[in-house]
């Protein structure tokens, strides 16, 4: 291996150079990439860069998180609601390893993120020096790309490549590790944006034939069903997608990360698929004749038992990542490429259709789900508050315009099922990794990226406490996020499983909680607690009307369950309503 590595960037124009230290180059690279905010935590191995951030603070805003995991999730939240790359920065060793959960989360949820970590001096590499960890080795399986810089002169090319890779094609997290000596070293700085990397083809080319075959299958289908995923949102294909489903009249269901690509109220939107998805799209997955997957990856939480998943259907898969095709479900036609372009080209090949009878089946099953589940969640008659009615009230008072950032657990499923999404990029949640502790920091990033939007975080009492320290970041930065904790004094989702599958043995799922309101107030955040239905509406109004950050604790029924539910390993059509 060569000592200096080849970074095969394809670049555009040539600029003149300027002699600066590596640390300054890092900040200049970020500015060149249009970075306005970054989330991080300082430490020895990254101090030269922090010193530059201090000098450049009028151009680039550093947000001091309270834990590097918080920084990573904030960067994710920032990226998920905007079209930008989220940036997180940390020192070597523990600082770097604390980023890993956020990086893994971004990898599985295809979130564009660049993480920068300091590293011990290059002469110390591999010597178990103070705060040395092999972060490149540790992060390899959970990054789209990573790289260690040991010479200042590598900085511009590596950063240009990092941003290009993070945001192009199927996006993902990239990690750059920089040794301390490379931060001090002076060199001739010159920045050129990366336009391509020889070995990397972000978007596969679409075979025209595949589009034609797909269109034919769709046109001939009697009972077509679309399941769309985040690919529609990442590909900015919302308009094209809407045009396609409206012309072909196809009932369309979403995966958790696909939520909000079209409004909840759209007549062709038939709800969520998967473990806690809606009854109709899950059951009818095993009845449709053509299943059209768009920008989704047949995750096991979506498919349930693969052996019984949509066996009767022809499968059409629109996908940007060739490795996803046939990975879980064998397709009949794969349309590779970017969703926006593919759907645009598909539209003229489609026949106008309405599939009224087929739609009626969705309506019939919805009625069953409504009577058995939805009615009780949204209009409960029993005394205890339900999570669903809290969501309903938030919908009403935000007019469905809010971005909902949810944590992981029962409240997450309830939030995704019942939140009304009128705008795209409104459902920010940890889908693939299911990371508790995600929501609070992610809400910070989301609100900072979209200050004009109402950002409402929904967490359980468990996950909230996994990154509760980020209240400090909210207070210091004055980020007006609305924090809602649905407190059931349990690790609710695990308790539900214990109830259903472990004979109600509630092993270590009951939580004795602190005074959450006092904690929020300790961070100088306005706070309130609600335990009765009659107070809910006014409390949510007070929260939404508040121009500052606000904390609302809602005491909900302790042992409510989330239904429908497909037990692990069961078929999507065996979905249980109770």
């Amino acid at each position: 291996m060569k000592e200096t590595q080849t970074i095969q960037n394809e670049v555009e124009d040539t600029k003149t150079t300027e002699r600066i230290p590596g640390s300054e180059a890092v900040v200049r690279c970020l500015l060149e990439e249009g970075v306005e905010v970054l989330y991080g935590y300082p430490g020895g191995a990254i101090m030269p860069v922090y010193d530059e951030l201090f000098k450049y603070q009028d151009k680039i805003h550093h947000v001091l998180s309270r834990h590097e995991q918080g920084a990573a999730h904030a960067a994710q939240g920032y990226a998920r609601i905007s079209d930008k790359v989220g940036v997180a920065i940390a020192t070597s060793g523990p600082g770097a390893t604390n980023l890993i959960t956020g990086i893994a989360d971004a990898q599985i949820d295809s979130t564009p993120m660049v993480c920068i970590t300091g590293q011990v001096g290059s002469h110390l590499l591999g010597s178990d020096a103070f705060q040395e960890t092999d972060i490149v080795g540790i992060s390899t399986p959970v990054t789209k790309w990573n790289h260690q810089i040991t010479k200042a002169s590598e900085i511009p090319e590596v950063f240009a490549k990092a941003f290009y890779i993070a945001k192009s094609g199927r996006p993902g997290p990239v990690l750059i590790d920089i040794t301390k000596d490379a931060q001090f070293e002076e060199f001739d700085f010159k920045y050129e944006k990366c336009k391509g990397v020889r070995s990397y083809k972000p978007v596969p080319s679409t075979e025209e034939n595949s589009l034609k075959t797909a269109a034919e299958l769709i046109n001939n289908a009697k009972k077509p069903l679309i399941v769309w995923g985040q690919g529609v949102i990442l590909g900015k294909a919302e308009e094209e997608f809407k045009a396609v489903i409206e012309k072909a009249g196809i009932p369309s269901a979403w995966t958790i990360l696909g939520a909000s690509a079209i409004p909840t109220s759209h007549p062709l939107n038939v709800g969520m698929v998967g473990m806690h998805g809606n009854y109709a799209p899950n059951v009818l997955t095993n009845e449709c004749d053509v299943l059209i997957a768009i920008g989704m990856r047949f995750d096991d939480r979506v498919t349930g038992n693969l052996a019984t998943y949509a066996k009767q259907a022809k499968i059409v898969h629109f996908e940007i990542d060739p490795a996803e095709v046939d990975k879980n479900v064998k397709t009949d036609v794969a349309v590779l490429g970017d969703a926006k372009a593919s759907l645009k080209d598909l539209l003229p090949l489609l026949n106008a259709n309405s599939h009224n009878e087929w739609h009626q089946k969705f309506k019939d099953l919805y009625k069953i789900e409504y009577d058995k589940v939805i009615k009780n969640d949204l209009h409960p008659t029993k005394e205890g508050l339900t999570m669903g009615e809290v969501l309903k009230e938030i919908n009403i008072q935000t007019k469905g315009e809010a971005a909902i950032v949810s944590d992981v657990g029962q409240h997450q499923m309830i939030a995704c099922r019942y939140a009304e999404f009128n705008k795209t990029k409104s459902n920010i949640t940890s889908g693939g990794l299911g990371t508790m502790g995600f929501a609070l920091p992610a809400a910070i990033g989301a609100k900072m990226a979209a200050p004009d939007r109402e950002v409402v975080m929904i967490a359980g009492d468990g996950g909230y406490q996994m990154n509760i320290q980020e209240l400090g970041t909210i207070f210091q930065q004055k980020v007006p996020v609305k924090i809602v904790v649905l407190n059931n004094e349990f690790l609710g989702m695990v308790r539900q499983w214990q109830q259903l599958f472990f004979d109600k043995r509630y092993a270590s799922t009951e939580m004795v909680n602190p005074d959450f309101v006092a904690i929020a107030k300790g961070y100088h955040i306005d706070a309130k607690k609600v335990s009765e239905r009659k107070d809910l509406k006014a409390a949510i109004k007070e929260m939404i009307d508040c121009n500052d950050p606000y904390f609302l604790e809602v005491r909900v029924e302790k042992e409510d369950n989330v239904f429908p539910m497909i037990p692990t390993g069961a078929s999507v059509s065996d979905i249980r309503l109770e």
Partner: protein, 176 residues
């Protein structure tokens, strides 16, 4: 058929960068697949490395793994081949006590018949090199083992395909 395990030889063309070995091996490790043999070397294209691996998996697993390998940013192209699609060799070295060379006439015959080559001889030991298919090397090993082997080592497989691999033309398209 898709679910029957077979021996596949995988050729991966990559940029010559640090860390790729880690990325590629992680793909197999994560899926609990054992890599039977591994070789990395320069390829016919300047600046492009080639990995050659041998694995025992099913064809559907193989296809998915190739997809995951090609997905790595610095992987240019990955192929898999069945046994009859390639010409391959392995190489090995034996170290044997010198006295055996003179005391056991049979050893000289074995060397000659197996097309092995004596690399070096000194008063304590001599070294033999042999390239060939796995079975040939196995056979030589068994024959020499009867007399006693001081050291033995064998390389990973190297392979070329019988059919043309269009990687060079593909790469030319990248250079502008």
């Amino acid at each position: 058929m898709e679910n029957e395990k077979k021996q596949y030889t995988v050729s991966i063309y990559t940029e010559n960068n640090i860390g790729l070995l880690n990325r590629i091996s992680a793909i197999f490790q994560r899926r609990h697949m054992n890599v039977e043999s591994l070789n990395t070397s320069p390829s016919e294209i300047a600046g492009v490395s080639r990995f050659t691996l041998v694995v025992n998996i099913t064809e559907s697993q193989m296809k998915k793994v190739i997809g995951q390998i090609e997905k790595q940013v610095e992987v240019i192209k990955a192929y898999y081949h069945t046994e009859d699609e390639i010409i391959y060799q392995e190489s090995c070295l034996f170290k044997i006590k010198s006295e055996l060379l003179f005391d056991e006439r049979q050893i000289q015959n074995i060397i000659k018949e197996s097309n092995a080559r004596i690399v070096t001889v000194n008063k304590d030991f001599f070294a033999i090199e042999k390239s060939g298919r796995k079975e040939e090397i196995d056979l030589l090993y068994r024959e020499l083992n009867a007399f006693g082997i001081m050291q033995f080592t064998r390389s990973g497989r190297v392979a070329v395909t019988k059919e043309e691999m269009r990687i060079s033309t593909m790469l030319e398209a990248f250079q502008h």
